[in-house]
């Protein structure tokens, strides 16, 4: 059993998202604000009806609804063109198998015949009168009336759902969200409880209960209670005594603390805690079909992360794993072909890429692509010397290095088109800076496919005599200026050019570090903007 698609409307950061998933491993990457965690949370919500490990009915708050949708609602009422209160809708489509056939139907937003579940958080018409009063004064409106909202959880067959009625079992593993030690304990204990077999948990509960009994039978406690009994009439007419809490809420979970090598879990290092939580959760969730995991890299050293990710890949075989990460290491280890580049609206997998580009990146270390995807803008250059000149030019223009402004400068060799294929799918803002190699028209023609892409900008200089970066720099700055900056005394441009090209990176570094201003060739300057 696996999920194949999630369609999300108005849930927190996700105004409207439509994401498709692969069988097996999916690695969700995206910007900090893209809503990766929200995506995982939404899927878990629709499949389990839970938020923060509690039934969603008890966890409703106004900020669950997308802020833009809320503003539209408020604005519409203020403008005198009122609209219905916004609603959250999460639809999860499942791959059709006999186990989930009962979830099949067309009761989804697209009216398509599919297996799936939908969770809607919407205004409850039972509160029409209250709502009328609520919107009576549009100027005072500042939120949605979440207290008049209800949760509707149904299959695509229109049947009301309970956690038991969804055959696909999901585990959300989000250790990073657990801030205080009490919650961490509770989390681990829940996992331990899930892990124990039925007889084991009965034995544990019995042992705990009889331990409480022994407490009361202890001679010292009996003595104390006898003493307290003598106080009858002082604090109450009834007999006062002490005993272990035997109410139902005092189950073993509240009195037992998990230990690692005899050290209470809460006192073990954060990284180890995290790793234990993830591994325990996976063991406990043996019967799960889908794991949703947030940023397993948190608090872990490189080696430990390596071990954890190998463990993950091993234990989740045959199941579906959706993991969000900021770590290129996690991505590389789990397989770059499983990457899902999520931008808050849709997700592009490398499956959508041209086949040759896909296999190219499967062989390539992943981090270059992640940089491209996560940057607000990228400038693609050929090599380190181009990169240094772009960096210098950028700092001269904007007063700070590109990275500080979210602009990545990435040296891609001659693989421009591979990166542009990704950029095109994600509509990333990308500028290409490339030598004309003495054939401006021929080089420009290489990029003719991308002319229609508004976010892709190609910068190749038209002067066939200035074939590469170095002649271009000489042309822009003159021999004297460069001699001065480089500490050389070449008497003609050809010699200077040969020198610079023979020592590409060194000369570029010297120019970059020089406090003197460098005139940036036009085609590079255009790319810097």
């Amino acid at each position: 059993m696996s999920i194949i698609r999630a369609v999300i409307k108005n849930y927190r950061a996700l105004k409207s998202a439509d994401v498709r998933f692969l069988n097996g491993i999916n690695v969700v990457v995206g910007d900090n604000e893209a809503g990766k965690s929200t995506l995982l949370e939404a899927i878990n919500l629709a499949l389990r009806g839970q938020l923060n490990r509690r039934a969603v009915q008890y966890e409703l708050h106004p900020f669950l609804i997308n802020v833009d949708a809320v503003s539209e609602f408020i604005e519409a009422h203020r403008q005198g063109n009122p609209i219905a209160p916004p609603k959250i809708s999460i639809e999860v489509f499942l791959a059709e198998t006999p186990d989930v056939a009962v979830l099949r139907g067309s009761m989804n937003s697209e009216k398509v015949d599919a297996c799936g579940v939908s969770l809607t958080i919407c205004f409850d018409e039972a509160f029409q009168a209250e709502f009328t009063a609520y919107v009576a004064d549009p100027e005072a409106l500042n939120s949605v009336p979440i207290e008049y909202y209800k949760v509707v959880w149904e299959s695509f067959a229109g049947a009301s759902l309970s956690a038991r009625s969804i055959p696909l079992k999901t585990a959300l593993i989000d250790p990073s969200n657990i801030s205080n030690s009490y919650a961490a304990n509770k989390y681990v204990l829940e996992i331990v409880r899930d892990y124990l077999t039925k007889p084991q948990s009965v034995a544990l509960a019995l042992a705990y209960r009889s331990m409480r009994g022994e407490f009361e039978d202890d001679a010292r406690i009996k003595e104390i209670n006898a003493d307290l009994a003598a106080k009858q009439g002082v604090v109450s007419d009834k007999v006062l005594s002490v005993a272990m809490d035997t109410t139902t809420r005092a189950s073993w979970e509240t009195g037992v603390l998990p230990h690692l090598s005899s050290i209470p879990l809460t006192l073990v290092g954060k990284g180890e805690q995290n790793s234990v939580k993830i591994k325990l959760a996976i063991e406990a969730a043996e019967s799960c079909d889908l794991f949703l995991m947030e940023e397993p890299e948190n608090h872990l050293s490189h080696t430990n992360l390596g071990r954890l990710v190998s463990h993950l890949a091993e234990r989740c075989k045959g199941k579906q794993l959706i993991v969000s990460t900021h770590s290129s290491f996690v991505l590389n280890k789990l397989g770059i072909d499983r990457v899902m580049m999520f931008n808050g609206i849709n997700a592009v997998t490398l499956d959508d890429l041209p086949a040759d580009t896909k296999s190219y990146f499967q062989r390539l270390p992943g981090h270059d692509t992640l940089r491209l995807i996560l940057a607000s803008r990228s400038i693609l250059v050929e090599g380190p010397s181009d990169e240094l000149i772009v960096q210098k030019g950028f700092r001269q223009r904007h007063g700070s290095l590109p990275l500080e402004q979210g602009v990545e400068v990435i040296a891609v060799g001659t693989s421009f088109k591979r990166f542009l294929d990704i950029a095109r799918l994600l509509q990333l803002d990308v500028s290409v800076v490339r030598d004309n190699d003495g054939d401006p028209d021929g080089k420009k023609a290489l990029f003719v496919d991308y002319e229609a892409d508004e976010t892709i900008h190609i910068h190749i200089d038209g002067d066939a005599n200035a074939r590469t970066l170095e002649p271009q720099l000489i042309k822009a700055n003159g021999l004297q200026k460069l001699n001065q900056m480089l500490g050389t005394d070449f008497t003609n441009k050809a010699e200077m050019s040969d020198h610079m090209q023979a020592n590409k990176t060194d000369t570029a570094l010297t120019l970059f570090e020089s406090s003197d201003a460098l005139t940036i060739p036009g085609y590079i300057s255009d790319a810097i903007r």
């Binding site: 139907g105 009761m107 015949d113 229109g158 049947a159």
Partner: protein, 362 residues
């Protein structure tokens, strides 16, 4: 043709039909089975039998009422092809005349009493419209969920129910219809569709399906419950049916069907302690805690005492069977409730053509 095993099982009263249905559903863990009956009482009875016989309702078995089944699998899953608002419930009231003039194309007003409530006698009509509208999606869906559908009390199916059953008969799902047209006492459905097959005449529909190769008919013509005397007497109501063979060999010294003079009723009740059954509350004082004929369906008593209605009494006097419709089927039900004896109350001066008047020995 009926390679899928579709069948109609015509079961005489007391033949253990309900138990057979439960066993059929529960015994094979490989076959995902929907076990369906018409009424809530019937469903409770099926559940109780499953617990009694198997200790639990096995996971492959889903027991529900007909309407729950229709709503869950034939109305809601694709309803938005005809009606957006989720259908929450069935409206079991009779649609008022003012609501009956709408055309089918006026979907919301034709089928629904309010946006979320569908008229009970139009629910299966709506289901069949959805099947047409979606090119059969609900049928293809149910094939993925159940291997077999067993309908207990199948004689209660009426109107568009029969069309929906026909869709199932033509699907890959195995359909087993268990029932007894002689006990067709239940009528919630006044949809004009298939009126010619209402009540006991549903047997004609079963026969038509058999002619078209959609089902095979099997008979369970034995009764575990009633002694032979009771079987023979009740069989007079349906002379065209196979005679019922009793498998009740118990002998109490007072077994079979008797007519009891009004004057002897008190003493008879003191002697034999029968359960009183009546056609309806009207018609004078009754002894004991009487049950109406229709309500006694599915029940078993050691002995019963029946207060007949006028037509029944006339039959006893003339020997001419002029009962029809529910007065016939409900009387058949009442007659077949007892294991050992049925006593029918007659006037003191009654001269019977059918049956013998019981005389106390002293």
């Amino acid at each position: 043709m009926t390679q899928s095993g579709n069948r109609v099982v015509l079961a005489a009263a007391g033949s253990g039909k309900t138990t057979a249905a439960v066993k059929l559903a529960c015994e094979n863990p490989e076959k995902r089975t929907a076990l369906i009956t018409y009424t809530l009482n019937g469903r409770n009875e099926l559940e109780a039998r499953a617990y009694r016989e198997f200790g639990a309702i096995p996971p492959q078995v889903n027991i529900s009422t007909w309407y729950t089944f229709v709503l869950a699998h034939f109305v809601r899953p694709y309803q938005n092809h005809l009606h957006e608002r989720r259908v929450d419930t069935i409206n079991f009231e009779r649609a008022p005349a003012s609501r009956r003039r709408f055309r089918k194309s006026q979907v919301a007003r034709y089928y629904f009493s309010s946006a979320a409530r569908i008229w009970s006698d139009r629910a299966t009509d709506f289901a069949c419209s959805l099947i047409d509208e979606t090119g059969g999606l609900p049928v293809s869906r149910i094939q993925g969920i159940f291997d077999r559908v067993i309908v207990d009390e199948a004689q209660d199916l009426a109107g568009w129910d029969l069309e929906l059953i026909e869709h199932l008969l033509k699907s890959a799902v195995e359909v087993v219809l268990m029932g007894d047209h002689r006990q067709a006492t239940f009528s919630t459905n006044d949809n004009p569709k298939n009126r010619q097959f209402s009540g006991e005449k549903i047997i004609d529909k079963f026969a038509a399906w058999e002619r078209h190769g959609l089902v095979q008919t099997a008979h369970q013509s034995h009764s575990h419950r009633c002694v032979q005397g009771i079987c023979d007497f009740a069989d007079q109501f349906f002379p065209d049916c196979e005679p019922t063979t009793s498998q009740n060999q118990a002998f109490t010294g007072h077994d079979g069907v008797y007519l009891i003079r009004q004057a002897d009723v008190k003493r008879y009740v003191e002697t034999f302690a029968p359960q009183t059954l009546q056609w309806s509350k009207t018609g004078g004082a009754r002894v004991g805690s009487p049950l109406n004929f229709g309500d006694s369906k599915g029940m078993t008593f050691e002995r019963v005492l029946i207060y007949p209605h006028a037509k029944f009494r006339e039959f006893l006097g003339s020997g001419r069977m002029e009962l029809g419709g529910q007065s016939k089927t409900k009387t058949y039900v009442a007659m077949t409730r007892a294991r050992q004896s049925v006593a029918i109350v007659v006037p003191n001066n009654f001269t019977p053509k059918v049956g013998e008047v019981f005389e106390f020995d002293n």
